[in-house]
Amino acid sequence: MWSELFLTPFLAGLCLAVLLPLVGCYLRLRDEWLAALAYSHVAAGGALLAMLAGLPPQAGGLLAAAAAGFGKQALLGRLPGGALFPLLLLAGWACSMLVAVNHPLAERVGSALFDGQLYFADGRQLLWLFAGSAICLLVLRRLSASLLLSQLYPDHFRLRGERVWPVHGGFDLLAALALALATTTLGVMATFALVFVPPWLAFRRARSWRRALSLAVAIGVGGYIAAFALALWLDQPFGPVLGLLMVLFGLS
């Protein structure tokens, strides 16, 4: 397992196993957990469209998710009733499927995006993931108090004459990019499992915000390591093994 063949993919996934539960905690705080699936599908659709255009799929995924994150505030007013993320999810899924059935190579890439391609992560990708995760964590740390404050006391920023859109817009963009980064590495459902389950469990059990963040990371990393080892040992795909483990964690 620890040979070079598996060490690089393991470390690449580990970066995401730390980052995704933390992003998930703030998505859950804002009652936006469905964003995980929506941004992942948009990233997958963007990656396939980029491939059609002869561009690197990863760049397409990141760009599409960033556009969705950027456009979220503008679209929210026009799509009341919590419709934004379900519509983004549907758009991403529909684009992906249409590209996949109309392009011979796209079907394989599409399948890889939805199932995950962690074992193909190379040194360059690890570097990107490490740098991206570190930047996301730093930005998240900076935004944390403002995100909590704007959720609990929505008038706080206006009363102080401070602008709140950089906080919300910054987090939307961060979440979209982090999820796009994860989708092109772990796949759509493994990403969703790490964004949804650890925060869900941590929010039920932790007594304070800091403990919830720590617990979510512990569950995410623990589940990831166990899934990686189990998938190798049983010679099974990583994504479904992680998904099942997370479901078991959730039921325990």
């Binding site: 404050l149 609990l152 008038d155 102080r160 059990r205 007594r207 304070s208 915000w209 919830a212």
Partner: protein, 193 residues
């Protein structure tokens, strides 16, 4: 006399349409001003207009430049299901825990959504009350509080005012308003002549 923190002159506030009669009032540093009146008189709407949430239809609303305002609304912060302790919330608004009553100080490390309604309300209120601000706008602060809590709140408001903070509060509790406020203004319903 020191410069007033807040001065309303003939102010009519509302949401889509005017919801108050013209109101005149002034809040200076160290003063507690109470607004009372029947339900529907527009007391909360006035506070919302001062906070920039509701519309000002006519009249003047003057604030001291760069005035730092704290606002407590009747909307309960969405705490259900969130792993936030009392200490977390006080840290967010930079409010001090000094002066909290013992029955609340002992609960600071517990989750807010596992406290009683009164404890949760008072902690959320305390986070506004003790946050750095020159003017506090409080909307029905005694809601959910028992007699002990109301007494403690009255003392805390007086201590805050003595430290130089101006306070404008809305309450239907006539006894509380008359006991704690330096000035009481009765807001009449817009349809009452």
């Amino acid at each position: 006399m020191t410069q007033p923190l807040l001065c309303l002159t003939g102010l009519v506030a509302g949401w889509q349409v005017p919801a108050t009669r013209p109101v005149d009032l002034m809040v200076a540093a160290g003063r507690i001003v109470g607004l009372t009146g029947a339900n529907g008189a527009g007391k909360s709407t006035l506070l919302a207009a001062i906070a920039g949430r509701a519309r000002v239809f006519c009249g003047q609303l003057e604030k001291k430049p760069d005035l730092r305002i704290g606002l407590q609304t009747q909307d309960v912060p969405p705490l259900s299901g969130l792993p936030l302790s009392g200490r977390d919330v006080l840290a967010l608004t930079a409010a001090s825990a000094d002066g909290l009553p013992p029955w609340l100080a002992d609960c600071l490390d517990r989750r807010l959504d596992r406290l009683s309604g009164g404890q949760r309300h008072y902690l959320a209120l305390w986070a506004v009350l003790q946050a750095p601000a020159e003017l506090l706008l409080l909307d029905e602060p005694t809601n959910n509080l028992d007699a002990q809590g109301v007494r403690h709140l009255a003392q805390a408001l007086r201590t805050r005012a003595d430290a130089g903070c101006g306070i404008l509060l809305v309450s239907h509790d006539a006894g509380f308003v008359n006991g704690v406020c330096d000035e009481v203004i009765v807001v009449e319903a817009p349809d009452v002549v």
